[in-house]
Amino acid sequence: MALNINETIEGSFQLVGGNFATAGEASAQLKHTLEGLGVDEGIIRRAAIATFEAEMNVIIYTAAGWLHYYISPDHIKIKIVDMGPGIENIELAMQEGYSTAPDWVREMGWGAGMGLPNMKKNSDEFKIDSVVGEGTTVEMKINFP
């Protein structure tokens, strides 16, 4: 299927912290949008996984946040901005296996300390900025083949 993107396609989802009933729906919708545009299956999977991990972080750790996406003919950019507690030590948080998740989060199958590493692994460009007490912004770019 030929790629059906002529100009940048933008969209946003509002994310509500603690709302596990619909957690992941924004990422699933973005995945369907990319499928409809004829994006490569492997790229869709990477974008969906990176977005889903970021979405779950907002649901688990923060009060609220926004997920913005920008799809261009040769790449997708995903920006997640949250109003959460922020990350004290980003270097530590980027280590596989490091997690500050409480027990109730682990019992749901999250908090393995793989979220941020999974986002970075699936992105071509990954940027994270965080201010304790204010929130965290994650920006990811995935290039199309």
Partner: protein, 116 residues
């Protein structure tokens, strides 16, 4: 390996059978941590897990997983079943534990998602 073959190997009950039930499932992963499921992601794979909440279905959808086996006779609630139907994901339940379920399927020729 088909869903029916998997159900026979695990003596599993098929809770919901998607329209994709005749697809060839080529690999499997066993995990209770959702980030591990995402890490393993392989198309047309099977997830063996002990978690039954709706977000397991959403994780499976993102990871390209088409079928899920719940171990230790765990049964998902109505919300999880409805979501699986909507996402076209088959659900099974087996009385075997995660280790035995994985072992039986591996022995029958179903490899792991990462092949290592």
């Amino acid at each position: 390996m088909t869903l029916k073959e998997i159900a026979e190997i695990l003596n599993a009950e098929i809770i919901t059978d998607s329209a994709n039930s005749d697809i060839n499932i080529q690999s499997a992963c066993s995990a209770d941590m959702m980030s591990a499921v995402l890490y393993y992601h392989t198309p047309n794979s099977l997830l063996i897990t002990g978690l039954t909440q709706p977000h397991v279905i959403r994780t499976a959808e993102i990871a390209g997983i088409k079928s899920i086996v719940f171990v230790l006779d765990k049964k998902p609630d109505a919300q999880t079943i409805e979501l699986a139907k909507a996402k076209n994901i088959s659900l099974l339940s087996t009385s075997y534990c995660m280790y035995t379920s994985s072992g039986r399927l591996y022995e029958a020729g179903l490899p792991g998602c990462l092949n290592k």
